[in-house]
Every structure is written in C-alpha cells, then in structure tokens.
Symmetry: C2
Subunit: 225 residues, 2 copies
DNA sequence: GAACGTTTCAAACATACGTTTGATTCAATC
DNA sequence: GATTGAATCAAACGTATGTTTGAAACGTTC
C-alpha cells in the first residue's frame, strides 16, 4: 500500500475543513502532500470520491465508538436501559474526544459534516443513509430513557441536540474569539459533561409548563385609571 | 432604482442556500435572473460584496426584531429583567418566524449562515462583528435572567443554544425526511415554544449534579465472588 | 535480470470561472 | 430634441479548475 493515499486523505481533510469543500483545489491538495497533480484522480478517481472517503474514514469509527459506549452502559446496568445522560454522553463524547485529542484531525471533520448538513441534495443523503442504523439505535435508547414521551417530541429534541453538538464543535473558534479565550476546547470529559448537562436539561423540559407571555395582564389596565 | 439589483439578491440567496457559496457561479445567478453576465459586478462590484449584501439584508431586520422583542419583554415587566424563556424566545422566534412565514426566503438565509459559521476566516469574521452589539445585549439579558451563574458558563450554553437553533432551521429537511413527515415546519409559535422549552431546560441544568457513570460499583465485585 | 503490475511524473486537455471593456440602450433633464 | 448619467449588453480577458494522457520510475516475482 502506498502512503501517498493516506497522506492525500489527511491533507484533503485539513484543507477542506479550513476553507470548505469547493474552495480547495486538487492541485492545492496534491502540492501540499508533495504528490503529483494526477495523484488524487489515480488513487480516488475523482474529487467527489476523495470527499466521500475523507468523511467515511472518520464517520465509521466514530459511530462504532458511539454504539460501543451505548452497549457498555447497557451492560453496566445489567441489561437495563441506559439513563438519559448516558445515552447523550454516548452520542456526544466520541465527537468531543475527537476534537480534543487531535484537533488537527477532528476540527476538519466536524466542520465538514456541518457543511454537508447545510447542503442538501449532495453527498448529504448518502451520509445520512450510512448513519441510519446508528441514529435508530439512539432514538430507541432515548425512547427507553424517556418513557411516556411522544416519539415525535423525541425526534425534535434529538434534532436540537444534534445541532448543539455540531455547532459546538464546528464553530468553536467563534466562541473562543468572542469570549477572548475564556471558553476553549481543553478536556473532552469536561466539555462532554457540560454539553450533556445542557442536553439532559433540554430533553427533560416540558413545553406545556413553559410560560413566556405573562398571563395576568388585566391588573395593568386597572392601575392606569 | 433598478429592480435588477433586488432580483439578483433574491436569486443569489436562493442558489447559494441550495448548493453553497462556491458551488454557484455568477453566470448562473445572472442567467437565472435574466440579467447580463456583468450585472453582478456592475451592481455589487464583486461576488464577495454580493454575498455580504445577501446576508446583511436579512440579518439586520432579524436582529432589530430580536432586540425589539427583548425591549418589549422588559417594558412588559415594568423594567425588570426578562425571564430566561423570554430572552430565549426573543432570540429564537424571529428566526422561526422567518422560516415559516416565507420558507423560500428564510431557508436559504439560515442555511447560508450555517455555511458561514463552519467556514472560519472568510466572511465569517465580518458577520460576527456586525452582530456583536446584538450578541452582547443578549448575553447581558441571559446574565440577568440567570443570577449567580458564571459568565463563562453562560457563554458555553449560549453557544449550545445557537447551534440548536441554527441546525434546527438549516437542516430541517433532514428531520422531515427521517421522521417521514411527522416533524415539519408549520407554526412558528409552536416551533419556538418547543425550542425555547428545550433551551430553557438546558440553561437551567446544573452540570455538577449530573451523574453519568454510576459511582457505587464496588457491590458488583462482591456479588461475583 | 527480465517481465510484470503499480505508482509517479510532466504536460496538456477542455472547460468554467470572476472580472473587465467599450459600445449601446434607456429615461430623465435642461 | 440634444445631453447626460445610469443601466444593459455581447464579447473577450486572464486564470484556475478537474481530468486525461503516455511515458518514466519503482518494487516484486519468477
């Protein structure tokens, strides 16, 4: 096996994440990888295939680790359903781990995924299809951890949670800049805890008990007389 | 004033959102708008200026509406700090309103913002700079609604919340497809309520009380003897 | 060490891009 | 109705893109 292939994947991933998929040319990738201009087309066939490989190379082990954690929690509680924080932790932590342990590889990937989420019709459909099994396992686990909650409600909240996680990772520099360095990606464990706490609170909230507009506004009218 | 300008903005917004910034050429935009190839460069100077205008055209009234709501809540409570749900509602609702009232315009814009969030270094910095005033007002409002909570913690949670909101809007089709039509963008009020409830729960959660890994595992060892 | 499949290479391919140009049309003003 | 400034137009500019090509270099295998 040539290591040019791996080198191309690494370089592509890094450049893609830094400036988006279309902003990076194959020439740039091959140049930075000290390879020939034709290298990408030789090893992957096309730019699109390169992109697919870049994604699936990280997505696959990521989802495996997620399911492994989910299984571990189930085993630890002697077969009972994992708790809500556990399910969320299994979903979130592998991503945070990827971000902190090797930001040079994690950041690109997560940012890439965000780009893809917001670009429907392209590679997006294929990626989601690949994840379908994992997603369904997690939806089932969430249902188990939240008995009595409507499936539709769970799907909505899972959607919110996915967004929080994705944005947290992909737009991290924005927060770091805005907070003037106060909010930084350091420990994966700390970050996961913080995020899981937030999401757990969100999943347990009851929309019916929410009060936004104060109801008793009649008193106001009286006092102005 | 020529209406070619407006038409170009509309067309650009729509195409950009559908396929990303770089994937759409000026020729495509001008062709679809039945304008000349040089029209964009005449009216806006460059493609980047076009992008800036596309964004700020929607971002400005959006942020004005957000602040208007925040002020309205403050006034309604006779000058007291708005409650947490109120602050979140003011931040979130104008976006949901935009999405539901005219999806053909709202979806493109939100998706565009997500693209920009995940592409650091480009237009991103300028956009965030434009929003700085609005952001600071909301951070202050959140601090007021959450007395005793560390500013750093508030910034993290605001980051999570932004992600949930952005993803909710920009990746809406993914959820609709996955739920087989069960989760759809219908009423802005319903959607805002659902999201605000989730975020309120998240903001009020205490990370210190979170239990993920069960602590007393010593009993296990004993039982296996 | 000859023959082989794999990998690399320099060079060129056709195409598409953002932008510029200079002429032309148009509506309003004097 | 001539003049003026804004708007549109067809055409071309230079550059960069993804991809293809055919020859050269490489490492194995017999």
């Amino acid at each position: 096996m040539s290591d040019t292939r791996e080198l191309l994947l690494d370089t592509a991933e890094r450049l893609f994440a830094a400036r988006g998929l279309d902003a990076v040319s194959l020439r740039e990738i091959t140049a930075e990888a000290s390879a020939n201009t034709a290298a990408v087309n030789y090893h992957f066939g096309s730019k699109e295939n390169l992109i697919r490989e870049v994604i699936s190379r990280r997505m696959q082990p990521l989802n495996e680790e997620r399911l492994r954690l989910l299984d571990a929690f189930t085993a630890a509680s002697h077969g009972a359903s994992p708790t809500l924080p556990q399910v969320l932790y299994a979903f979130v932590h592998p991503v945070m781990e990827m971000m902190t342990s090797d930001p040079a590889k994690g950041t690109p990937f997560v940012r890439l995924m965000t780009h893809i989420h917001a670009t429907p019709g392209g590679v997006s459909a294929a990626v989601v299809a690949d994840m379908r099994g994992t997603i369904e396992r997690f939806i089932a686990a969430l249902s188990g951890a939240l008995p009595g909650v409507d499936l539709r409600e769970i799907l909505w909240r899972a959607h919110f949670a996915t967004g929080a996680m994705a944005h947290t990772a992909s737009a991290a520099p924005l927060l770091e800049a805005f907070s003037e360095g106060a909010c930084r990606f350091t420990s994966a464990e700390e970050l996961s805890t913080r995020l899981v706490a937030f999401l757990t609170g969100g999943f347990r909230a009851d929309p019916k008990k929410l009060k936004i507009h104060q109801r008793p506004r009649t008193a106001k009218k009286v006092s102005s007389l």
